[in-house]
C-alpha cells in the first residue's frame, strides 16, 4: 500500500512540475491532467471513493477540457519571451515557496494522529456517496445552497462576459445594400411626387390668380410648367 502511494505521489509531483515548468502550454495542461488523475487514485487509497469519482469527472473531465479548449482557442501555446518587468521574480518565488514548503513540512511532522487509523476508518463508511450526501444536506446545507447560487452566477457571468457586441440589422452589408437601392427608388418616386406637387401649386396659383383677376401672372406660368 505504501509503495503504491509512493508511486502515485511521485506521479503527482512530476505532473505538477511539468505544469509549472513546461514551455508549451498544452504540455502544462496535460501535466495537470496527470496530477489530477493520480490524486484521484490517492483519494481511493484514502477511503474517499465518492470524492475520487468527482475528481475524475469534474476536474479531469470538465475543467481540463475547458482549459485545453481555451489554450488551443487563444493560441496561448507560444511561451512568453519578453523580459520580465519585475526583477528577480523567479528567484524570489523559488526561495519564498521553499520556505513555505519547509514551514509546512515542519508543521506536518508535529502532527499526531488524534485516534488510531484502524479506529477512524470505519466511521468514514468508505466515503460512500450516501454518507457524504447526508452530510451535505444536514451540516453543509447552507454552503451547499450558497454554492449553487455561485454556480448560477458563474454561468450567467461567463455568458455575459464573452458575448460579442450585438450586431444591429443596420450594420449588416445586405441590409445596407437594400437600404441604398431603396433610397434610389425613393428618390425617383419623390422626384415624380415633387413634380406633381409643383404642378399642383402652379395650378392653384393660376386659379388663384384668375380668381383675383390679375392676368399678369398668367403668361409666365405656362413656360414654368413646361420647365418643371
Amino acid at each position: 500500500m505504501i509503495g503504491l502511494f509512493a508511486i502515485f505521489a511521485l506521479m503527482v509531483l512530476t505532473g505538477a512540475l511539468v505544469t509549472v515548468l513546461a514551455s508549451n502550454a498544452v504540455h502544462a495542461g496535460l501535466g495537470l491532467v496527470a496530477t489530477l488523475l493520480s490524486l484521484a487514485v490517492i483519494y481511493v487509497m484514502m477511503d474517499a471513493h465518492f470524492i475520487a469519482a468527482v475528481q475524475v469527472i469534474v476536474y479531469a473531465g470538465a475543467i481540463m477540457v475547458l482549459f485545453l479548449f481555451v489554450l488551443m482557442l487563444l493560441d496561448a501555446t507560444r511561451p512568453v519571451k519578453e523580459k520580465n518587468p519585475i526583477p528577480f521574480v523567479n528567484e524570489v518565488a523559488g526561495v519564498a515557496s521553499s520556505l513555505i514548503a519547509g514551514a509546512m513540512v515542519f508543521l506536518v511532522m508535529q502532527f499526531k494522529e488524534p485516534l488510531p487509523l484502524e479506529q477512524a476508518l470505519p466511521q468514514l463508511q468508505a466515503g460512500a456517496p450516501e454518507a457524504i450526501g447526508i452530510n451535505l444536506f444536514t451540516k453543509f446545507l447552507l454552503p451547499f445552497e450558497a454554492v449553487s447560487i455561485v454556480l448560477l452566477v458563474a454561468v450567467v457571468g461567463a455568458v455575459a462576459l464573452v458575448q460579442r457586441p450585438q450586431v444591429r440589422d443596420q450594420d449588416l452589408p445586405e441590409y445596407k445594400n437594400a437600404l441604398e437601392s431603396e433610397k434610389e427608388r425613393n428618390k425617383e418616386v419623390s422626384g415624380t411626387i415633387a413634380l406633381n406637387r409643383n404642378l399642383n401649386t402652379d395650378l392653384n396659383r393660376d386659379l388663384d390668380a384668375l380668381e383675383e383677376g390679375t392676368p399678369n401672372t398668367t403668361p409666365q406660368i405656362t413656360p414654368q410648367r413646361g420647365l418643371s
Binding site: E82, N135, G157
Partner: protein, 100 residues
C-alpha cells in the same frame, strides 16, 4: 496503512509547486493552472484530515471546494477570452489597466 504525515507532506509539496508556478508563469491561462494545483493540494490535505479524524465533514468540504473551483474556472476563462479579444495577448505583465 498510509501515515497521515506522508499525505500532508505531499500536499505541502504540491501547494509549494503551485505557488511557484502562480508567481513565475506569465500567461494568464497557465497562472490559472497553477491555482488549480494549489486548490488540489488543499483538497488532499482535507481528505487526509477526514481519514485521521474519521469524520466525513472534511470530505463534504472537498466537494464544496471542487464546485467553487469549477465556477472560478468558468468565470476566469471567460475573462481571459474577453481580454484576449481586446489585446490579442494573455501576458499578465501587460494587464495593468487597473493600476492607479
Amino acid at each position: 496503512m498510509i501515515p497521515t504525515e506522508a499525505v500532508l507532506a505531499l500536499s505541502a509539496a504540491l501547494f509549494s509547486i503551485g505557488l511557484v508556478g502562480a508567481i513565475m508563469r506569465r500567461t494568464a491561462v497557465l497562472v490559472f493552472l497553477c491555482v488549480e494545483l494549489m486548490l488540489n493540494a488543499a483538497n488532499l490535505a482535507l481528505v487526509a484530515f477526514a481519514r485521521a479524524w474519521g469524520d466525513l465533514q472534511a470530505q463534504s468540504a472537498v466537494f464544496i471546494v471542487m464546485t467553487i473551483a469549477a465556477a472560478e474556472v468558468a468565470i476566469g476563462l471567460a475573462i481571459i477570452v474577453t481580454v484576449f479579444r481586446q489585446r490579442v495577448s494573455t501576458n499578465v505583465d501587460e494587464l495593468s489597466g487597473l493600476k492607479g
